[in-house]
């Protein structure tokens, strides 16, 4: 009996984790209504399949809003409905941005679909002719080819040969093709050349991040475990009730809205859920408000302040010297000038922390590795480290905050910062 109880807690955890890691589950829930993008997209593609015509559409929206997931859901459903009349070619602007590799990839995927032999040494012209020929054949066989062009804006750089030949082939030969472009740039269609744009239908579907209420109901939906035979009934009901309690708690609402203020896309929400679920206490088997609080603090970090907290006191001295030089409006700052400032501070205040030049140089290099300062010149390395100009990558407010939070900060540093600022 004990084993069984342990088992279902672990099972619940597994279920939740696989739900969160699979974005399609989330988007299916979100886009269930008939007015949603999912239904519109499905209608559009299925009508071009049934009516044997060509079509093109752009899916636009910020990153993580579910464009690809919704498209994959639509394609999956269509493949179920029309098993033999659809083939899918997937390209990504990041990987296949140049036309040569794009055509090669198209040819490779077409060969794989239709069990033809793919030759790696085929030239660009061979591949493009092959594609046109295949489109014609598929058109004659009443088979629709769906081209999924991810990162569409990257295809629109350069000469746009792929886009032109694809859209041109769709218009000239007897083909049945649907071109779906996906992009995070909301002006992706403005990037198209005139001749390409004229062949592109101006259909766009916008994927906007969900509102706060929708996000909340999505969260509840994702965290509700099914009350059926896979889980003991009372455990499932208790679990869902606890989730409902958490969601209605005022503190949770505050944390949640803080989190979504930064980025309200669904993927970001899924990250939050993943962190919270992974901290679920397996002894009790239920989620608690603490899990969500831990998730919030572990995802929202302040990296520069963390770096400052990790620095040694000598490194803080160097940062304060650089800040003082900046305030004095010395336009040009390198290691030697920082050393001069360091020496002048030591002379005027008689600090106990006065170290050799090579020790300071090493601390300086630590700061560069931590990305608290960086070199200001890009022209290569014809000068050694001591002479290259450097600049600070943190603001004086951050430096002040870091100094205050540092647990054994020498008072002299605070005084120096305050005196200038």
């Amino acid at each position: 009996m004990e084993m069984k109880r342990e088992n279902h807690k672990g099972k619940a955890l597994n279920l939740l984790r696989s739900r969160v890691c699979d974005p399609k589950f989330a988007f299916k829930a979100l886009y269930n209504s008939p007015e949603s993008n999912y239904s519109k997209l499905k209608f559009m593609i299925s009508s071009s399949v049934t009516e044997a015509c060509n079509n093109s559409i752009l899916l636009l929206g910020p990153r993580g809003s579910g464009k690809i997931s919704v498209l994959e859901l639509v394609i999956r459903d269509l493949l179920d409905e029309y098993p033999d009349s659809i083939s899918v070619i997937r390209l990504s602007g990041l990987l296949h941005g140049d036309d040569i590799s794009a055509f090669k990839e198209i040819a490779r995927q077409l060969c794989m679909e239709h069990q033809l032999l793919f030759s790696k040494s085929a030239s660009f012209d061979d591949n493009s002719q092959f594609m046109v020929a295949m489109l014609k054949e598929c058109g004659l066989a009443h088979k629709t080819v769906i081209f999924v062009l991810d990162e569409f804006d990257l295809f629109a750089q350069g000469k746009q040969r792929l886009l032109y030949s694809l859209l041109d082939a769709m218009q000239s030969v007897t083909s049945q093709a649907v071109v779906v472009g996906i992009s995070c740039r909301l002006d992706a269609d403005q990037l198209l050349e005139k001749r390409v744009r004229s062949r592109f239908s101006h259909r766009k579907l916008l994927f906007m991040p969900p509102s706060m209420e929708d996000s909340q109901s999505l969260l509840v939906h994702m965290l509700t475990i099914p009350v059926d035979s896979s889980f003991p009934r009372d455990y499932a009901i208790e679990f869902n009730r606890k989730v409902q309690n958490i969601v209605e708690d005022k503190r949770f609402k505050e944390t949640f809205s803080n989190y979504l203020n930064f980025d309200s896309s669904v993927k970001h929400l899924l990250k939050f859920l993943f962190c919270a679920i992974s901290h679920m206490d397996l002894k009790t088997g239920f989620l608690s408000l603490e899990n969500f609080k831990t998730a919030f603090s572990s995802i929202n970090r302040q990296p520069k302040l963390e770096c400052l907290r990790n620095s040694s006191i000598l490194e803080l001295y160097i940062l304060v010297c650089m800040k003082r030089l900046e305030v004095k409006e010395k336009s040009f700052c390198n290691f030697n000038s920082v050393m001069k400032e360091y020496k002048s501070i030591h002379d005027s205040f008689q600090t106990s922390d006065y170290y050799d030049r090579n020790v300071c140089l090493r601390a300086f290099e630590h700061l560069i590795n931590r990305e608290l300062i960086c070199f200001a010149d890009n022209r290569g390395h014809s000068l050694s480290v001591e002479y290259r100009p450097v600049k600070l990558l943190i603001s004086s407010a951050e430096l002040n905050q870091g100094l205050r939070a540092y647990h054994s900060c020498p008072a002299i540093l605070q005084k120096l910062m305050d005196r200038e600022g």
Binding site: L94, E105, K267, P303, H366
Partner: protein
């Protein structure tokens, strides 16, 4: 590219290889092949004896919360995960904790470091080699499993390799379940890819496409049985670029160790822990102000601890042996003067001093601090250079330091030291101009000079040396390999070679040695460097 194709590509061979008989090379290669067994999927595990979580906690003091966080994010066996981004300062234990954690969890791991796989192609091929369980041997001509340069090829190969490996794992675990009871729960169905030293990827070529590609790899693959872990020295915000976005992985932060943690770490494996902790009481606080990295502290403490323990064997200081009540105070008073000087040498990797220097140092043990410092200043040059390289280094230093207009007066055909009296008087410069000149020296750094000027100065100096020295064995040899010496000095980064500018003509060089080093080199040659230096003050 399959192995046959690899063997048929004509390879350049050395003469010795071509001249060795074919039979011996065949025997050698077949012997080698027999001794190495083919790799199995179990070789993807970290290996070693299994360790428990408590051992892991005790091996890594101060890291228990990070270990627990990573364990909970990885989840139980066979659960999917979103990509993780582990970051923290240097030597905070990220790589070793991840590897030991996988040893504890006993799950297959594909580890690649972006330091040893220093460009895109090598990274891709190393990952594919591991997934294909491919070992480079003479049988396959030390080639990789697949030739892969572009991300588009990599994603296809990776998908195939991962699906094969995962099916392999599934068969294995199916056999385990159907067979006897599982001993340790099996190794699961998931494969984890670890990218170490990820911060180096930002500086590669094509990093603008590679970084978004790797961060989006989980979404592109759409295989739930893959876990991705990125390890980096810098935080995720240093990876932002204006080119392209990606969904950020989940951050896991490794803060630097606190005071107490460092004490625990350094006290491990010490023979006498009480003695060591009293040593740390004395030394740690001051060293902690300079650096907080464990590796630097441990290197600095080793010689200091030996020094600290010295009086224990000295009968004069401790007549009662270990039972002296004032032990701590006496040891403290012994070590105290050395701490400050050791602090200033903390990052120096010193060469071993010769025995005579050691003896003389012991004799002067009662000398106070200042003399010790001065003694270091006049230390000898502790690496060897040939005479012509030394002269070349000095001439480069002079060429960078002195303005070109002074060459004529400093170096005439005879050497020029007796012309100093007729040199123009040092003008009384206004103090502000002095200061601005000094600042210029600080800011701009050493000047650059063309090759002809360097060779001219070199020739002058060498002719002076030949005149003044009685040995004539040096007469012809110094000039012969000057250009060779110049290129080796450039490789050693004593001289920087600038890019050739089409307007200015020839390549310009710049000397990077400090004045101390130049003085040391000059002293070893008995060359009066200071008389040639242009004094700006």
């Amino acid at each position: 590219m399959n192995p046959e194709e690899a063997a048929q590509i004509p390879r350049r061979t050395t003469r010795s290889l071509a001249s060795s008989s074919a039979s011996t090379s065949n025997n050698a290669s077949s012997a080698k092949v027999n001794s190495l067994e083919p790799l199995t999927i179990n070789d993807l595990l970290v290996g070693g004896d299994p360790i428990s979580l408590d051992e892991l906690f005790s091996n890594f003091p101060g890291r228990s919360s990070q270990i627990l966080e990573i364990v909970s994010l990885l989840g139980p066996l066979n659960t999917p995960m979103l990509p993780l981004f582990v970051y923290g300062g240097a030597s905070t234990g990220k790589t070793s904790i991840i590897l030991q954690l996988f040893r504890h969890l006993n799950r297959p791991l594909v580890y690649s470091s972006c330091r040893t796989s220093y460009n895109q192609r090598i990274l891709f091929e190393s990952i594919l080699n591991q997934l294909h369980l491919h070992r480079k041997s003479s049988a396959n001509g030390y080639s990789n499993a697949k030739r892969c340069e572009r991300p588009s090829d990599f994603i296809n190969f990776l998908r195939e390799a991962l699906t094969d490996a995962i099916n392999n794992l599934k068969e294995k675990s199916a056999k385990l379940i159907s067979g006897k009871t599982m001993a340790q729960g099996g190794i699961g169905n998931m494969i984890y890819l670890v990218f170490d030293n990820f911060q180096l990827v930002r500086e590669w070529d094509k990093s603008s496409t590679l970084l978004p590609f790797l961060f989006n790899l989980y979404d592109l693959l759409k295989i739930p049985e893959v876990g991705l872990i990125f390890i980096s020295n810098t935080s995720p915000d240093t990876f932002y670029s204006s080119n392209m976005g990606y969904v950020e992985p989940i951050p896991v932060y490794f803060p630097d160790y606190t005071d107490a943690d460092i004490r625990k770490i350094l006290s491990r494996n010490q023979a006498d822990s009480k003695l060591y902790s009293s040593f740390l009481d004395v030394a740690l606080r001051s060293f902690f102000r300079v650096t907080r990295q464990v590796d630097e502290l441990s290197t600095a403490f080793k010689p200091l601890y030996e020094k600290y323990c010295e009086p224990l064997s000295d009968k004069r200081v401790f007549p009662n042996g270990d039972k002296d009540k004032d032990m701590k105070r006496k040891l403290f008073s012994h070590i105290n003067p050395h701490i400050t000087s050791s602090l200033n040498e903390i990052f120096k990797v010193s060469s071993h001093p010769s025995v005579e220097v050691e003896n003389s140092k012991e004799a002067n043990l009662k000398v106070n601090q200042r003399k010790l410092e001065r003694r270091e200043e006049i230390a000898k040059l502790d690496f060897h250079m040939s005479t012509s390289a030394k002269y070349l280094l000095i001439s480069a230093f002079l060429a960078s330091r002195n303005p070109a207009t002074l060459d004529a007066s400093l170096f005439d055909s005879k050497g020029g030291s007796h012309n100093r009296k007729r040199k123009r008087k040092p003008s009384e410069k206004v103090p502000e101009r002095k200061e601005s000149l000094e600042e210029e020296l600080l800011m701009k750094g050493p000047g650059s000079f063309p090759l002809e000027r360097l060779l001219a100065i070199f020739q002058c100096i060498v002719s002076v040396a030949e005149d003044s020295s009685d040995e004539d064995k040096q007469s012809g040899e110094l000039m012969s390999d000057v250009l060779l010496q110049l290129s080796s000095l450039c490789n050693a980064k004593f001289i920087f070679k600038g890019r050739s500018c089409p307007i200015e003509g020839s390549v310009r060089y710049r000397s990077t040695v400090s004045e101390d080093l130049a003085l040391k080199v000059a002293r070893s040659l008995k060359f009066p460097l200071s008389s040639y230096l242009y004094k700006r003050t």
